[in-house]
Amino acid sequence: MFLGIYLAMKELWRSRGKFLLFSLVIALITFLVVFITALGEGLAASNKEYIEGLDAQLLVFRKNSDLNIQASSVNQSDLRAVKRVEGVEAAGLIGLSRVAIPLGEGKKAVDVTMVGVEPGEPGEPPVLRGQALSRRRGKEAIIDVNVARLTGLDVGDGFWIRSVQASEEKFYELTVVGITRSQKVLFNPAIFVPIVYWEKIKPQARLGADEAELVSNVVAVRLNDPASWPQVMSQIMGEVSNVDVADIVTAYKATPGFQAQQSTLGTQRTFLLLIGVLVIGGFFQIQTLQKVGQLGMLKAIGSSNTTVAAAVLAQIVVVTLIGALLGSGASAGLSLLFPPTIPIVFEPQVVLSVLVYLMVIGPLGGLVSVRYALRVEPLTALGLAGG
């Protein structure tokens, strides 16, 4: 086997131009696979980051809202009913709406998802800097790091949000009290405001008023025993009328378009990997066909099948590895140039999984050529079959 690897390395080095060119083809495929995977991760994160990171196990929706957060509408009485269910440790209303943060003359406003949460209840994110929300009616906000980066806001800064109410653009002032980690939801970075003030300033068909009835989208429920969520879910559905309950994963997967988007990207990725198998397989098959005489000679002088297989496989592995590393490196490098608004997330484990996929499919694609190499008949290859 070592002799096979020795032969493979010698050929790779002495024909490095040819093999590097092919590694670049694999790098391109890797780049596309990693890019699409990162885009998938980024888009998914833009949709689910906040929901996935909730300090809660269940979300309560209005019945028949198809677990669509924006289509759901729950109120205080629902919240109280949920809190009464055994096993529920805490619950809080969550409301989602889209607003913009104007940045001044000539600058594009930053679109954000404004999340109304109850201070101290499930739904309010932990802060990295600053402090938590203090009052249900406070004109204060926790912003996520994306908003901080896009707007330059920091703890203590005041800012305005633009909200459309009764067909009019209304501006409300808020003060940043804390900064939380990335909490994207509904494809936007997020700001968190007290639920009562959220009710007043959110976009709506009428002008916001302090006395408005508090209606939000869902109730986030934290349980005494997180593992008991299936039982508590059934209890809530049994004891609280007119609601649907979902665990966190089901909830974000039910977001409109989430599954379709992920399956589209998944299909593209699968096809790219399939193309990778074909390209790698095709290249090494041609490579093997060109070496029939040489392989026949090696077999004739006594090389074992293990040596021949190791020589072919080692080349496939090295060429694929170089290509995959180049492609991943190029994707990661290029991602640094992307503006933060582009939803691309390079999770090391995701890049690693793509590398592993490619390292599996590379040799898989090359198996045909290994099989062919093993079947090379020295007699025929060397022209000793007659005479």
Binding site: M297, L298, A300, G302, S304, L382, G383, L384, G387
Partner: protein
């Protein structure tokens, strides 16, 4: 002296539907260490098939081939590959060298295959290549040297691991006359010096002047064996001799008479 190669009643029969072809027909021969034998004959005479059988690349339909007393047909595929790499040296007509290995690496490949690559082996390879006039081409790739030089590298490779039997299939096919003579002469000298048994298949009868015995094959069987210097010289240089019918050959008159080539 014990024979390095012993062939007893070897036949190779191909059956294609109802047609039966005897590519090799009851061939027996024996070659001793230090003896260089040429297999000659027209196309289809069975010489290449016999060479493939001697190399253990083809199983005979009947008969036995023994190299250093070991019977090839009794070895399985793996053991036969092992046997080939240890006991047999090869020079082919084409595809002789690994194109991405240097001259020295091509020769030491046989030592690596046999797990016998060490400082002494490396030195022996360098000495052998120097002896073959390639001392200044050790680190050249095959494509950077001439066809004759490539064949000499192949000869070095076929001998470096001290095999019992060296087989050469048309080693001069792609060479001009001068280089062809050089290659075969060097080959013959090394076989004689190193006491290896050598078998060369050739179409070029001029090359047989360096061998000790010529085996002429026809239709799969041995038609004639020439082992006197005079007969061989005549075969190699017909112009120097008077052709006479085969059945009129008088051993005492061999110096003056030349056997017909086939």
């Amino acid at each position: 002296m014990a024979a390095a190669l012993e062939v007893q009643g070897v036949s190779k029969v191909y059956r294609n539907g109802g047609a039966v072809t005897r590519a090799v027909d009851h061939v027996s021969l024996s070659i001793e260490p230090g003896e260089f034998v040429a297999l000659v004959g027209p196309s289809g005479s069975g010489k290449t098939t016999l060479l493939a059988i001697l190399a253990g690349l083809l199983n005979p339909t009947e008969g036995t081939v023994k190299i250093d007393g070991e019977e090839l047909s009794k070895l399985g595929e793996r053991k036969r590959a092992l046997f080939r790499r240890q006991k047999i040296g090869f020079t082919f007509q084409a595809n002789n060298l690994v194109p991405y290995l240097t001259v020295l690496e091509n020769v030491t490949l046989m030592l690596k295959l046999n797990n016998r690559y060490d400082e002494a082996g490396l030195q022996r390879a360098k000495d052998l290549l120097a002896r073959l006039g390639l001392g200044d081409r050790l680190h050249y790739l095959p494509r950077q040297i001439s066809g004759g030089q490539q064949q000499r590298v192949a000869i070095a490779r076929s001998l470096i691991h001290l095999p019992s039997l060296v087989l050469a299939d048309e080693p001069t096919a792609s060479l001009d006359t001068e280089r062809a003579f050089q290659v075969v002469e060097t080959f013959a000298n090394l076989i004689h010096e190193q006491k290896r048994a050598g078998v060369m298949v050739t179409h070029d009868l001029r090359m047989v002047k360096y061998v000790d015995r010529v085996i002429q094959m026809l239709d799969g069987h041995i038609e004639r064996v020439l082992d006197s210097r005079a007969d061989i010289s005549c075969l190699a240089n017909p112009a120097d001799c008077t052709p006479i019918p085969v059945d009129a050959l008088d051993p005492n008159a061999a110096a003056q008479a030349c056997p017909s080539p086939y």
